[in-house]
Symmetry: C3
Subunit: 378 residues, 3 copies
Amino acid sequence: MRTDSKAEVGDAGDRGRAVGSLMALTGDMERLDEYMRDKRFAPQLAVWALRGVTRVILANNPLSGALMLVALYWASPWQGLLGTAGLLTSTLVAVILGQDRAEVWGGLHGFNGMLVSLLMGAFNSAGDWYWWLLLPACLGSATSVFFFSGLSSVLDRWDVPVAVFPFNMVIVLYFLCTGPDNPYFPHRLAVPPSSAPPNVTALSVAEVLQGVPLGVGQIFACGSLGPSLLILAGLCLYSPLQAVHALLGSAVGTLAGLSMAVRHECLYSGLSGFNGALGCMAVGGLFFSFSWRTHLLAIASAFLSAFVDIALSNLLGAMGLPACSWAATLTATLLLLLPGGMSAYRIPLARVRAPERNLRSRSRWEAGSAAERNSTDV
Amino acid sequence: MRTDSKAEVGDAGDRGRAVGSLMALTGDMERLDEYMRDKRFAPQLAVWALRGVTRVILANNPLSGALMLVALYWASPWQGLLGTAGLLTSTLVAVILGQDRAEVWGGLHGFNGMLVSLLMGAFNSAGDWYWWLLLPACLGSATSVFFFSGLSSVLDRWDVPVAVFPFNMVIVLYFLCTGPDNPYFPHRLAVPPSSAPPNVTALSVAEVLQGVPLGVGQIFACGSLGPSLLILAGLCLYSPLQAVHALLGSAVGTLAGLSMAVRHECLYSGLSGFNGALGCMAVGGLFFSFSWRTHLLAIASAFLSAFVDIALSNLLGAMGLPACSWAATLTATLLLLLPGGMSAYRIPLARVRAPERNLRSRSRWEAGSAAERNSTDV
Amino acid sequence: MRTDSKAEVGDAGDRGRAVGSLMALTGDMERLDEYMRDKRFAPQLAVWALRGVTRVILANNPLSGALMLVALYWASPWQGLLGTAGLLTSTLVAVILGQDRAEVWGGLHGFNGMLVSLLMGAFNSAGDWYWWLLLPACLGSATSVFFFSGLSSVLDRWDVPVAVFPFNMVIVLYFLCTGPDNPYFPHRLAVPPSSAPPNVTALSVAEVLQGVPLGVGQIFACGSLGPSLLILAGLCLYSPLQAVHALLGSAVGTLAGLSMAVRHECLYSGLSGFNGALGCMAVGGLFFSFSWRTHLLAIASAFLSAFVDIALSNLLGAMGLPACSWAATLTATLLLLLPGGMSAYRIPLARVRAPERNLRSRSRWEAGSAAERNSTDV
């Protein structure tokens, strides 16, 4: 950073304090939890829910959550409402069921319900403001809490996060349950990306490039450019490193889509990119501490997620089902299970924070355990 | 219970003894095992097999088993014969393979084989008394023993029962293996519940109501009213609470079917209800001790089982396969994995008895462990 | 063995040494590892790769591997080249990723990559020497290393081998990903074995019998008789018992195919037999020590593998996908999980050697542990 040669020394303290209070708004905002401890239920619930919004995109920051929620309402007020309903329902159900307090506080019970509601709305073919849809949206969100708890007691054995498995399961069951011609809850059928007839029109490079930021928005089932950029800005507030990985992963996913000659709409809408973005974010910095080896693994993860997504979209698309984020979730889970070389960079689930924090805390923690080892040896 | 005001005191002992011996015929009939210990192999095998019959419907009582077997022969002698063949084959294979004695005695190796045979018969399109069918029925029943043992060593880690997973796997493999046009073992194709054309005739309320008890019979692939009521009576002998939950779950499943506008035949035949019944019974009183919270969870379980069943029936029905009891088995397994709030009501697998016994033994056992804890503290 | 009555005593030592050095070329050739320890990287890699070739067919002997590689080049030089590329890629990726040294030395990271490449070539419809295919072949092989490591940390809990799960997953994903009409990587669609129209021509017994040794070759996706016999010869060099089980399993699989009236081409080409062969080999002598009970279980395993293969081929064939060796892998995994009676014959994964060695080492090991137990008792 270039500083004035005649910088006043007295100003440095003020500036440090200003930077400090700005820093407190980024990352995981852990101090907020202490501050909220003795507040009333409604504001606490709001913070849990906003944290839940960011969990969708592998972040954890209520301010980012507020930005993302604004982006969703901007893209479509009806979708925003559906998402909010799902978010609050699943968080409240978790509170009522007496789930682990730390999990509820961290927003871990909100994001699956939110995604279930958002996808129900995105594939609904009865048009916006079809109020009956709130019924399955709330029931599906509540169900995702049961799936989350049940799966976590299995996956805990391998210290692997439940992630969006519950959302993926519940939404596939919902689409299967309502079937193609349901009179009450009709929905669009998903089209496989490699479906015939093959592409005949020329590829528009500008639209493909636009698909890269749209891929970040598609994580929230949002296909407009403005809101997608706002979501990206919210992610940047949490962690610039995560935002870079999101864009990188989306670009990798688009490349993978090009190499498999998927339908052009998939590339233009960002649907080819969002699994790559999720796969890249999970490995690069979040569950592994950042280094050049992890960075390579993150790119590999993005490619693998994107190819697996094309494969699963073709498989599920044959039944008219969307592949959602199955690909990224399965790929990230697989890579988190890797023993040997890479596991040295693995961060235990309980210690996962924003990538920038992970880097610092890791070095401190390793230094600590090294010191400990030394003291035990002597 | 209203008693005569001039009741003779001497009579009370006799009546108590009579009630006691009646009580000994209900529940798990554990005293019978002691009585049978030094008997010959044939009567012992009969008891194991009759226990196996009731395991299908989550009960464990040889007398109930006899009633249910009579119901099956009443509905269709050929189906009764097939079921008996599968039951005896799988129990004998388990004995020969040297499986755990307590499991064989409890009938745990009989019910999967019986269900495999019954379903093979129910979907067979070569007509009754097609003797060749005994070949796959016996082989499939024997295979289910291998699946049961293999799966139990995986699921034991989470103290989750194997339940009817082996049956569901073996029967799906059989239907896939024989395919749609097999010359030796032809079978009907299952029709998905949400298949087009949509319902055009008016719904008959009387037939829908009749579908509720039929749902209990459909657990044994039996679609006649009389035998279904006899099966329900057998279940009531084991545990009235289980019988109530079975009817409640079947009604819930029928409601779920109505809400998803499934084909009317599914509602009338009880096919919409039986997964709900199984899901409701497993949670309400059997694997969780009965309380109002468990009761709510049982109703939730019935709804979830029924919706998942519609989803899976649509999925597997696209290949012409029936969804059997996949839905209830998966749902109950998921709910048994729930940590946190509900797990306090969870009964360890080794202690599971009839719901009425569970209630009593739980309070005694908790009192015991509380006393123990106190004595350790002091 | 008949010996001359006037045998020279001095000759016996020479002969013993000659037999000894011949014996050193059979089985697992463990002494070779010691000899290679201080050699350069290239010859070491060659040994690891050749061990990897034999791992495909559940053997572990570099000489057998060389024979099998010759057979592959004999059957089709292009397929041989593809297989070699996959083999070397995945072994090198494992070395670079710093995987467990013993696993790399034993060839455990080569065989999945090799199978992925071979199957890509076998189903490729762009003709031989389509050089672009090397790109997905190498990428797919590299991916299989990630799958292998990730799965091993899950399956290790039950002491179950990862086997060819990675190959089966990667190849299914590849076929799904490229879809039916991919412009860059077109591939043939698999035809389900029970597909209509039913068989009309008479069955040729000679061709069915020829299908039995072809079933052994089909493990390497090789459908010519000469190379298949050479592969069998290589297997015989490793362990005659394995070779017998391979033929027996292939015959059982052909029988199972006949009983289900599969298409005649499946029987003639050996496709009906290869899953049976794999299932029979895994149980008979390799993961269980050889005895008459294990032998019966091996035959049951062959039947089960073959029937499950028909089922899965019908299921996956509806999407145009081949069932590869899913059936044998799942069946063998299930049987390895069996507790109770059979587990006494189970050999811990770390001690698995050639069946002949297993027999000897087992008796020695049991004697050892018995002695140990005695010494602890006293």
